[in-house]
Symmetry: C2
Subunit: 312 residues, 2 copies
Amino acid sequence: MPPSNAILTVTLNAALDVTYQVPNVRPHHSNRVVAVTTRAGGKGLNVARVAARLGRPAVATGLIGGSTGAALRRELTESRPTRLLDALQTIGAETRRTVAVVDPVAADTTVFNEPGPTVAPGEWADFQAHFGRLLADCGAVVLSGSVPPGLPLDAYAALTAQARAAGRPVLLDTSAPWLLPGLAAGPDVVKPNADELREATGLTDPLDAARALLALGAGAVVASLGPGGLLAVTPHGSWRAVPPEPLTGNPTGAGDSAAAALALGLLDGSPWPGHLAQAVALSAATVRSPLAGDYDEATYRALLPHVRVTRL
Amino acid sequence: MPPSNAILTVTLNAALDVTYQVPNVRPHHSNRVVAVTTRAGGKGLNVARVAARLGRPAVATGLIGGSTGAALRRELTESRPTRLLDALQTIGAETRRTVAVVDPVAADTTVFNEPGPTVAPGEWADFQAHFGRLLADCGAVVLSGSVPPGLPLDAYAALTAQARAAGRPVLLDTSAPWLLPGLAAGPDVVKPNADELREATGLTDPLDAARALLALGAGAVVASLGPGGLLAVTPHGSWRAVPPEPLTGNPTGAGDSAAAALALGLLDGSPWPGHLAQAVALSAATVRSPLAGDYDEATYRALLPHVRVTRL
């Protein structure tokens, strides 16, 4: 039986993303919040939402707990696109929140990220067993974001090894403390941004840094360079993929949309230039959407034919 | 049977006060929160905590709801001093949160206040009945803070009238939108700060403004002027009470501590100069405590004999 064509996304440090609308924020004072919105958050949930909106079945797993975890699950149930399956696992500790203070007058956002819940050793073992069962029905795996306290630093190496043993390709999108230990297990693609690339390697040139990660075990490196598009270094060649013009808007989730496109490329085994172009267009279309885990359909369609992909 | 000597505090718009420790806050960026603490909040709860710490029985009532309300009640149960009775009433809507971002490096705090829950008409009627029952066993009433959506603007006038009909003196500590309608019912003392005084009257001179509130129905006006101490305008005379030196620290809750001291003065019927001095010393001792609803005992004892009370 061939593997399913579903994407399995993992969000170990899920969060309830809270947005405060505060016109004319006054630092060092009391500020009245005029509107509060909450959304199930964490990079893997954004990837799953975007994959589902692209028409692919997506299974979202990870860890949630406490009343904040329950609120996260409720929001996901109420808002989720069809084709997104909630396979989040419950832990004892309370899910964290993030608070984004959006000032619509200054057109600016400041984000505060709470530390994650502490996961118990037995909960991690339970999660690995749960992940193993989910692998059977999924075609590719995306591991996203930070690792909460209580889990081993090489948690992503363990999940990557499990997925590869099951024959499933893995995209790993995390920052330096968890990226480096994860590389040892040979994820098919890693997707650092410019800061993460520099922090993980100490190298300032993105091409040098990407080659260094390849040497450490990554199957391919796709670096997101913000408005500069993507840089891909793979065993089949290296490319730059650049949007026709820089777009302004809300960059939150742009990298997660790129990860969704790249994971679908892994799943389909399509050639790199095509799915790099999709990743750039989707990422830019996400900047034009007010919500992470969503994208502006018209922008996506308009940009896709105009992304420039250059072989290096 | 004489009335009990307990203080009854009312917090209609209670909040779960969340504090984020964020060294070197970077506006317009993502910030890592290094520690999260939560505390049952709202001005009336601070008053009740301080009264209880001063050795007086205090009954805290008000409205809480949802999982945030449950978290508030849990924190109050775990932290409350002896002599504080939880008489909060449950509503359907979710209690609000406040988020204080404390930067220990810059020694500065920015606060974000969520809007309150919407209270249903039946819940307000239930609360008034509950308040009526609590009045029987209390000697004085403190009405503090904002009024949540769904309640009439003159909610404090209704509670003041109820308390006065039961023969209980009332201290009202709220800002302009609820202070002005509340005056009509003749609260014994109102305790605006300098901003509230100006907003309620349009007058910039605190003495003129306090006299205007007296004319509108207040039995006495005690204005808190921050480091400048208190200004009291009463039918028995007017006083300024000033701390011996300005103290630096966390001003949150300083006004609530002053309200607690003034309410105890109302209860005991003690002369104004004495309880104004207590209010100033307690307020200053609260600035030296890291928590609202608490005060530094040594500072309180040291300052009390040195507060200057001047008859105007």
